[in-house]
Symmetry: D2
Subunit: 450 residues, 4 copies
């Protein structure tokens, strides 16, 4: 997954981008970068690592100018190296173009083959670079038309920001799979993956970039173009389930509200079914992603909320788990079970989703070791059975526990006393109505023809 | 504040110390170190920074041996540098002594003056180094007697672990101000500031090191000595209010239970007083330290629990807040208010304690900006009016808001609709009875004569 | 200036390249890199800095395979950054091509403009990248023909090594400006800028790569192709005067012999002219480049050899010369005048060449400060009046003292008692006969039409 | 071996110390440090590595004040780590004392035992720290008397510089084993191991610190004290043979002159003995240490001087010589034999000294591989048979080839056609008369009673 942030027309463009990336850090922890321009030169800092490790006062001061573009990356295919880190700065015959991309194209291989056969040389494996090559080779006279020409050749999910020395383009694919929103800070235009980035810098939210829209910002004007064939938009529902930050709005939905609703839906189901039998002492989350789900469940069911785990805030990415020790400490070191809360209790444990099932299994084991009487797992997401081709890191069917097993098998594997998944139908009830969401990872219904 | 961890008699002593320090990281984030021994040599790694930054597989493999001692430090007086980082390894005429200290002596200056006048040369400003100098100069024949001789000359709070190439000493001052506990892992002895470190490595909790006890662990035996004049123990109640981790037991009290009780006590007070008038929509914590207090309040009052803030997990210590920007982002970047939860609501906000008042003020401001109707602040700790001389970082009266203002002034300053602090009496009701606690920072009653 | 080294068919290919780069380090101190292949993958390490700083055992072990290519760079135009460091690895439609280049093209701008107008995107400012783009776009079917096609479009000086996963190409431009030689080490083929690299690894010298030759080395065969229009070769005589290492042969000439001859030619001139009048006490070099010239002069003239300067071996590239001090220590810190040798003496000082004149001036000043009676400067090179477009860092006419002043002016500026430059004619007498050398920087006669 | 440098009363004290350490870098390459003071605080930078790696503009600017003290270290006993790096800053009851030491005490163990039995705690293994402990414990009232008291308890070689916040002490042991000199730079006092450091910064040489002298420099006065019992001084002759820089004066002798004389003495010997028989084509040095010896030999014998080796200037300390390769490249990579000079020639090779014999053997082998007809080795130093206890790194008898073999055996081992060592008598003829030198490493006559 990735996060993008752009700002046009502010004297502290790079510093505000740094803040914006901080707010979006949950969308990608592998690399981060900011490229700024003062109209004359491009200034660039792109590195592997977290925002807090990459930038300091000295490095921010060097990123001069009133236009800046930031990117966060979490790789999807093991291609984790600096060459793939963005934003990408590329010198073309049409000027220097900087690009930051969230999403995944589905026809990358075809485009690569075609371009290479014509003599193109790639420095990375990213979709972004292919897009800029297509722009550079376009026969269209101006940059806007070249971008349209290029994007007409690609297919897939893309929320893009491009900058030149004078302009910024914010673009969302016709299916609108990934979010992208527009804000305003004292006259400067701000583009971000999620509204939490606008909130942090104090920018006002204006609207989403619409599916299929190219928004071109220059010194003179802001121009909205919709050059693509119309498709029915399909924003990614998993952004609301798991990916986005609770304080964000994405696709005009409040993330925290949506998650509370998911918890409520689960409680309603239990009420109608088995809840009387389980007689739970409390409902509690797997922190932090299950928090609002558990609160929603508690509200709807009337069962008390409590915290069976505390979270360790000092875990870096470098935790060592050597072979010498048989036990795996990596789960225990992040989440510590709290004995007094757990002992002798029958617990409803709310989790956002289950991918491989291994961490759910470990957490339930931890609860039982601390004396839990019963553990009833409730999952805000439906069963994840299919890979995502549009930018979320659910790599192959093979690794998805729900591809191999049914609910009751999974319950046995993770050793829960009961296990309930959200249905796709009740998930759709949890989010604002009137939008058709992409739930391909749950249903296998892929909206974009390959 | 500091954390200490020692292990005696395990082949993976250094790795387990690394895990122990991870569990205790909340007790000190400035420096960390581990010193191990295989009976022949001492192996040492002490650095500024977090545990996750300091150790990797290579550096842990070099820390050979079956005895290891770890330390975490958070400086109290601006003397933040590598020279003061612990554990300290000191070559004396009585052999190599390694020391790790949690607490603060109150007669450091007198000891320093006396030792310097006799020709002693110090490399640091730490109490630990003074203690080892006293041991080295003792006329007593063996090490145990030299330690007793040395500690009879010091006054203050100390939970100490000392190691030589063959032995480990765990020591707690006669007042028992700071915690220190003993555990067992497959026959190895484990000493730690809090039980959460035992839990993480899977060690069994045996008992606390008692106030005034010297526990000497050697290959042949474990010996408990109580050589000091008896004093009434006064464990620090602020460990339970704020410092210790919720999943720990300290001084035999469950931290999470104690905090829930503090929330309940606050709710009882409100019930008996003003609660009907405020008609709150929900009670919520300042994450994460107010969590269990808010849950306790919710349970006792019946008012719903909700989360008005989400916490950003990617904040490093290097957040940049340059002069160029008038606004201070450092609070906002850590805690993000969630508009949908807050808007139009009357909120009871539970905080663990108020030191300077600045962050409480910022948080209430954030809530109001997001549309909160009313904000009622409830504080688990009584007013903090006096400095701590026993190791907690509440440096001078001058910086304590409660030293200068009464409750109603503070309410106005932080702009709360109402403000209730815990009383010392109800705080003492929240924790296990039968122990006399040190609450000098609240009452001004210092148990140790200076 | 740059140095290149390649080896084909040795199990320790990367380590031998590391040694080869060590031997060639004088040809470029700004960046260094090695790219190796085992036929399956390419392994790459390219960094700013010296060979000794860039590689260690760990990094060499990762450079697996039997084919390796190394490069050293000293930039010519202030474009000193990692993006321009070589070898360059480029993924093309014709496979992965790695390239290392010594020399300078003279039609880079034309090629860049043409390629960009066709949509090419460059990541660096190097000639090497342009050459690979031309190869990638060639309509020729196989790689050899594509290389010929590409090189037929460029003009200038190039000693090139290219590798793919299976092959190595060693190429020298038709004018043969820069050196490139072939050696053999236990059946492995070795290509290097100078023979000193062959000597260090114990390889046998076979022959020079000839001007206009493409040598293609594959598992099956070694093939020599001469596809270019014939030109009269013009090897760079400044390689013999200054650039190459004294223990090397370049263009089949022994560098140490050539430099001794230059000293002898200067002595002969003095004999026939003014030598009786100057009555020198000794002849000495500016270390280390004037060493063999001074020895030659001493032999021919019979005047004793002595060392007026010692050289400090511990100068890194990071010597600090802050504004706070009026004096410039950078010359004095490298070369220390030896008072006992200098005081009261009349000295013939042999220097390899004079570019800006500033260091000559400083050195003579140092000698006079230590009591030299007379300083007679003798320069192995003729006057350097013209820029080099073929890869040597003599950037613009404006900085060349000999472009602005005649010999007597220069003598006054550097404050020598007498000053004699070599004539172009006597320089040509110092080197093996029968070759037409490029001496454009001295004569202004550029062999390659622009 | 070590080098020391101090400056008192200059606004750029730290920068001048940095230059001074550059000039003295040959005396120690393992660690370097500068400690400065402005009378209020001490500023310190001490690191492992070379001067050029340790200091940059930022770090020098932080070393404020008008008094600075620098030190270079090359360890003698494998105790190579930061704890032993100097200058040492020690906080004592008599104020902060900074110390830098060149030399070795011979009663360190006795002093350590005595101090430890009294409770002293050492942080390093250095003599310097013991000296400061003795000063701190002295019953004398003022610092000068405490220093005298301390030094009366030690025995051995010491050229010391001590600084406090107001004063500087320059001290040389009564035997005067190591050099130490005094200079003046625009009114500031400068102390250095060798005059080359004075020359570089442009300071005037005043005189040597005399054996047994304590020179105390304060704002008010410069005071010379000679409080020790008189001994006959014995400066180390090996400083002149090998250690000091050729452009320095040490013990009032010119190093370059002394080395030329050593070469002349060797030539005289050969003239009287075998020179007619060997019919050498030229005399050449092992660079760089044999340079002046070879020039002296050439002058005296009339045999031509030439350079059979060139030296590679880019060798860092990190050259890798992995096991995978049978051959050892570490000698070849430093010195490259020049075939044209060597082939078919009968060579007199002048070396400064032979310690283990391994590099001499390698060099002769290199010459023979390049076609040398005969190699006659001449050594400026007499046979090195005994260890040095006064600070030079000739650790144990066991490693000295001359301890095990006689001259003819050594000739066979290193494979020379002839081998002549200097006699102690002729060595003493090479240096200024009237001084009694320490030549314990050659004669076994140790001047200081142990």
């Amino acid at each position: 997954m990735c996060g993008v942030f752009g700002i046009y027309g502010h004297k502290n463009a790079a510093y505000l981008s740094y803040l914006g990336l901080f707010a979006l850090q949950h969308r990608g922890q592998e690399s981060a970068g900011i490229v700024s321009t003062d109209g004359l030169n491009m200034y660039e800092r792109v590195r592997m690592g977290l925002v807090s490790d990459i930038f300091n006062n000295d490095s921010l001061v060097k990123l001069k100018g009133h236009i800046a573009l930031g990117h966060l990356r979490y790789s999807t295919k093991g291609d984790s190296n600096l060459k793939n880190a963005q934003p990408f700065v590329m010198k073309t015959g049409k000027g220097i173009i900087t690009i930051a991309h969230n999403g995944n194209l589905v026809n990358t291989d075809d485009i690569s083959d075609k371009l290479e056969s014509e003599g193109a040389i790639f420095q990375s494996e990213t979709d972004s670079e292919r897009i800029v090559h297509l722009i550079a080779r376009s026969k269209e006279a101006n940059l806007t038309d070249s971008i349209i020409d290029a994007l007409n050749q690609v297919s897939g999910a893309y929320s893009l920001i491009l900058t030149t020395k004078e302009e910024m383009y914010a673009i969302r694919d016709p299916y609108g799979i990934r979010p992208l929103c527009l804000g305003n800070l004292n006259g400067a235009y701000v583009i971000a993956s999620e509204t939490c980035a606008l909130d942090l810098i104090g920018a006002n939210y204006i609207r989403n970039i619409e599916p299929g829209e190219i928004l071109r910002i220059s010194e003179k004007c802001v121009e909205s173009i919709k050059p693509f064939e119309k498709n029915e938009p399909h924003p990614c529902i998993f952004e609301l389930v798991y990916f986005a930050r609770p304080d964000s709005h994405v696709f005009s939905a409040s993330v925290s509200e949506a998650r509370k609703n998911m918890g409520k839906e689960l409680a309603k189901y239990d009420k109608d079914n088995i809840i009387k039998k389980i007689n739970a002492d409390f409902v509690g989350p797997v922190p932090d992603s299950g928090m609002y789900g558990a609160i929603g469940y508690s509200k709807e069911s009337g069962i008390e909320f409590d915290l069976p785990f505390t979270r360790n805030h000092y875990i870096g990415r470098t935790f060592i788990n050597p072979n010498q020790e048989a036990r795996d400490f990596s789960v225990r070191i992040k989440l510590s079970p709290v004995k007094e809360v757990i002992r002798g209790k029958s617990i409803i444990l709310v989790e956002d989703s289950i991918v491989r099932g291994t961490t759910s299994k470990d957490k339930i084991k931890n609860l039982r070791e601390k004396g839990a009487k019963e553990v009833h797992m409730r999952v805000c997401s439906p069963l994840l059975k299919y890979p995502c081709f549009y930018g979320i890191d659910i790599p192959t069917k093979m690794e998805l526990i729900a591809h191999h097993y049914d609910v009751d098998d999974i319950r046995r594997i993770i050793n829960a006393d009961s296990l309930v998944y959200q249905s796709i139908e009740s998930l759709l009830n949890s989010v604002p109505q009137g939008t058709r969401y992409c739930h391909a990872c749950m249903s296998g219904e892929y909206p974009i023809p390959k």
